[in-house]
Symmetry: C2
Subunit: 226 residues, 2 copies
């Protein structure tokens, strides 16, 4: 296990009281002084910080969209990705049995530890410190909400973006079908004429190819800069 | 409708920017500048404030209990009670049709407005100001968690309290049964011998009478001060 100072560097926060961080990375299989209550607290803090960030940034979102996106950003998988990125598993104290089964790198365990770390920062440094760390770690996800985060498919999302700017609807056209009857591959072009954007998607069904084309359109500069 | 200064007095917070409060009390039936996004934000803030309060106060609660109690404290009914207490309905801007149907005093509408007010304070004054107001309004509920808030029946709760202090189990005894066969009324005594506490409950069934006796025991000084 790496020293906790290294973890402090990776999250960009130095604890006044190191025992909070120690506890945040302690799994219940390791000690009765484990991180589950801190995880509860961190979950509360995270919901507030992400809720406020979305409220500020996405001023065109209604309450339903805000709730849906927040839920996607605070769910286990997203937290586990953050845990993987900061390598939280390298610091986790888990019981020997758990460790042998690779339990320190289990997504749910990493997710719990990341939440517990947020809770620990909140206790140690207050709301604004926790907010700073959370926003920094979530920055890539907040600055570009993906179709998955938004809980929408790419075609719906593209349509909404274009409509909000009065740019009409994209058109989709099958430009090629390859392969034998049961192994067909569809090639679809998405055209957003008012922006001069044309993207191509490939898939085993027309629908799949359209989704890919829409996803590619969403990542073009012309649309990202709308 | 009463002036918003009166609402500020009742919640104990004066807004720097009154437009936030105005918006927090505006229902969607009244104007497109309604409170739904603020309600989302307030919900986020409330979860964090109540989560932290429970984390601090109930240091014997595990994560599951903390989550359950938080859910009970932030649910619509609880918020509507707070709305009723501060008379939030006297300030709500709802559409005419709604108003005629008493829509300003509907529990869900009051609950939404109370959350929106918390969100408005957060934007106007920051986390600590919102925390102060929320804790003040929730104080009665936080200082004495009831069986309902805890999502447990009174007997279970009494048993848990006594066991945590190694005071053994309470005993319940039917001391009287009154009335004719189909209208019986049971009188039950709960005895906690180590504390010298005896309480009496009455009910249409033995179980109901036991619950009442347990609930009364929970409110005795001897047990509240454990």
């Amino acid at each position: 296990m790496l020293p906790l100072e290294e973890l402090e560097k990776r999250i960009g926060y130095t604890f006044k009281n190191k025992k909070y961080l120690k506890r945040a990375v302690t799994h219940r299989s390791f000690s009765s002084e484990h991180n589950e209550r801190l995880e509860f607290l961190g979950d509360s803090v995270l919901g507030c910080v992400i809720g406020y960030a979305l409220f500020q940034k996405e001023d065109h979102f209604n309450e339903g969209s805000l709730s849906r996106v927040r839920a996607n950003l605070v769910k286990m998988q997203t937290l586990a990705e953050i845990g993987e990125k900061i390598g939280v598993w390298e610091f986790l104290c888990v019981g020997e049995g758990e460790m042998h089964q690779g339990g320190n790198r289990r997504p749910s365990t990493m997710s719990d530890a990341v939440e517990a770390i947020f809770g620990a920062i909140f206790i140690d440094g207050g709301f604004e410190q926790a907010q700073t760390v959370i926003i920094r770690l979530y920055e890539p996800m907040l600055s570009q909400l993906t179709a998955a985060t938004l809980g929408k498919d790419a075609k719906t999302m593209l349509q909404e973006v274009l409509q909000s700017k009065h740019l009409g609807l994209p058109s989709y056209e099958v430009v090629d079908v390859k392969g034998a009857a049961h192994e067909q591959e569809f090639v679809v072009e998405a055209v957003i004429s008012k922006l001069g954007v044309v993207t191509t998607g490939v898939g085993r069904s027309r629908r799949q190819a359209e989704q890919e084309a829409a996803q590619k359109a969403l990542t073009t500069e012309a649309i990202k800069n709308l």
